[in-house]
Symmetry: C2
Subunit: 385 residues, 2 copies
């Protein structure tokens, strides 16, 4: 059901010829209202793709009528021509839908530098056919159209007291803070105004998508959007809606982690007793980005020394000689020294739990990452992406 699960939304996924595989590659999601509220968060990379530059302007007024998304080309570092392509895409959709181009968001994903005349023609053609094929059953085909190296379409739904949230996501590599290489569209028929939508989206992404750091590489194209139709007529309990939205984002973040390119372990790094949440996140990210630790996990090696070496590079408050480390429930390091024998740690399961106790304060955070594998190197060296 995905983005068309809530009332008030239509979607479509079509084949525009951007992907050499001939699979769907352009998706359109339209909000039929009555509300046309939108919110979005974007990559924090200063190198931003043209669709990001366009969508940042379009979202400013908190009104979104539709989103056009394409895979098969990032339209990033493609110059003024590429920006015009994003602009024309919004105009094409707006013209067909009878709305303002300034209320149409655009998202692209694929190879940076791709965005020539052929690309433009295909995206515009796909937009046209996507709008023509819009339906309240179109969520699944839209979810498929945004896939790149994803092996499965990622969708999620949450039901509240009279309202629904639906979502689709794509992303399999270049997963890093300030958003992974992800495009996410979330829809809801709950009644929210623009400031509420913005606040809920930022709160939910801050502890979910923003803490997925598969390979430390920040994308140029990330965008997570929330569209609000209000079609249920129900004004949700704020806390209840916020919790449901965060839970949905967490489900999608875990799905992105589990489908990360070439990974053989999904590593949950939990940092506890930090002096602050930002300290906990800094420590978690530092470990998540340590290639030696990530390669050790691939080799089923509970190498806690590499964990401590990674923690030592941070500015977080803690005593490097008073840190405990657990791997899959076994305390391998106590107070910065060896504890249980490494043989007791079973790292053969894909799900890997790393717990770091900083023994400093009361804050905690969880960062999700993956191991560094032969397949990661293969996928990212053998194919331009």
């Amino acid at each position: 059901m995905t983005v068309t699960a809530p009332a008030g939304f239509e979607a479509a996924g079509v084949v525009a010829g951007l992907k050499s595989t001939g699979k769907p590659d352009v998706a359109v999601v339209v909000n039929r209202g009555p509300l046309k509220v939108g919110a979005a968060v974007f990559t924090s990379n200063r190198a931003q793709a043209n669709p990001i530059i366009w969508s940042r302007q379009a979202i400013a007024d908190g009104v979104v009528e539709a989103i056009v998304l394409n895979s098969g080309g990032a339209n990033c570092f493609t110059g003024p021509f590429g920006f015009q392509t994003a602009h024309q895409t919004a105009e094409k959709a707006a013209e067909l839908l009878g709305v303002s181009a300034g209320d149409v968001l655009v998202c692209s994903t694929g190879l940076i530098g791709t965005g020539d005349e052929v690309f433009r023609a295909k995206v515009l053609d796909g937009t046209m056919r996507g709008v023509a094929q819009l339906s309240t059953d179109g969520g699944e085909s839209a979810a498929q159209a945004i896939m790149t190296t994803d092996t499965i379409a990622k969708t999620a739904v949450r039901q509240g007291d009279g309202w629904t949230i639906g979502a689709m996501a794509k992303g399999a590599g270049m997963l890093a803070p300030g958003l992974a290489t992800m495009l996410v569209v979330i829809t809801t028929d709950a009644v929210l105004d623009a400031p509420q939508a913005d606040a809920h989206l930022r709160a939910a992404t801050r502890t979910t998508f923003d803490r997925l750091d598969s390979d430390g590489c920040m994308s140029t194209n990330d965008q997570v959007s929330l569209l609000v139709s209000g079609a249920s007529g129900v004004t949700p309990d704020e806390a209840e809606f916020g919790a449901a939205l965060a839970d949905l984002c967490r489900e999608l973040a875990v799905k992105l982690q589990r489908d990360a390119e070439g990974a053989s372990h999904d590593i949950t790094i939990r940092v506890e007793h930090a002096a602050s949440e930002s300290d906990a996140v800094e420590v978690g990210r530092s470990v998540a980005r340590n290639n030696l630790f990530k390669a050790a996990i691939f080799g089923n090696d509970p190498n806690w020394g590499r964990v401590l070496a990674a923690i030592g590079t941070t500015t977080a408050h803690f005593d490097p000689y008073d840190v405990d480390v657990w791997m899959n429930g076994v305390r391998v390091c106590t107070a910065g020294g060896p504890d249980r024998p490494r043989e007791e740690v079973d790292l053969t399961p894909r799900a890997t739990d790393l717990l770091i106790d900083l023994k400093t304060g009361d804050a905690a955070a969880t960062v999700l990452t993956n191991d560094l594998t032969h397949d990661y190197v293969h996928e990212n060296s053998a194919y331009a992406s």
Copy 2:
């Protein structure tokens, strides 16, 4: 000739049984004077091995009589027992040499967490036999004794006007800023006082070892020491000595880069027209640590989009849409857009040149790194180190 090339130094490398291969694993370098000047720089990781904690204290007065180095165990995160081991090692050498233990530096390299009773006994035994075998020809055997996954012993010599500088280095993985996993001992018979030695060493390492960033992982054990015997009786021209020392450090840094674990490309990242040297270094490091870029180079893929995406994550001053990128002499990106076709770039040679023109100011810097390969993943996953 290595560390025994300058007059006034003796060295030895012996088999202490720390390495399972039975190869030499303890080295001793002694300064016979007349000067006993020393300087050292250490890893900036807050997680510091016991030999680092010991040596930081020992170097404070600028006097160094000897250095004891071992491979086969890092003596890091081994608690008070490990610190006592470092202390006892210095005392053992001092007792045999008739000097103060506070003037003996200690260096260790190997697996973090290794430093038990057996380790201590072997290191002390190795120290004893190393001192007994000291000779003015011992430089080569000392250089071999500090090797870990290094495939070749790394040494360098520079001759000045009546003075000589000699050096040995080890390091093949965990090469990162604030020093790589490197142990380096540099000796000279030039006449320098302690402040001069310290200033020269810091100036030379800042633009050489500190800019070698093979895999972004900062070690707990790095130490680069300079011992000054003054045995030549020659006070060198300051500029000449500084240039020779920097040149020697650069040669060793390149040797470390070329021997990095599993690498198939040695990548020289030159950042030009930056607003400041620190901006240039930040940009170079960001690219050097980007796994997607590194994997692309392994695959001989001139993926300049990944370079720009990495640059975009920095705080350096520049316009992301006005950056030029050259790979092996071919300008693949002009003003943040595609330039020459990727087919023109030949990435088959091991030596890879990446040039980034930020078009902002007059500063520049060079960062050395390697590609991300199957062999890197294999070496760092299959063996605990």
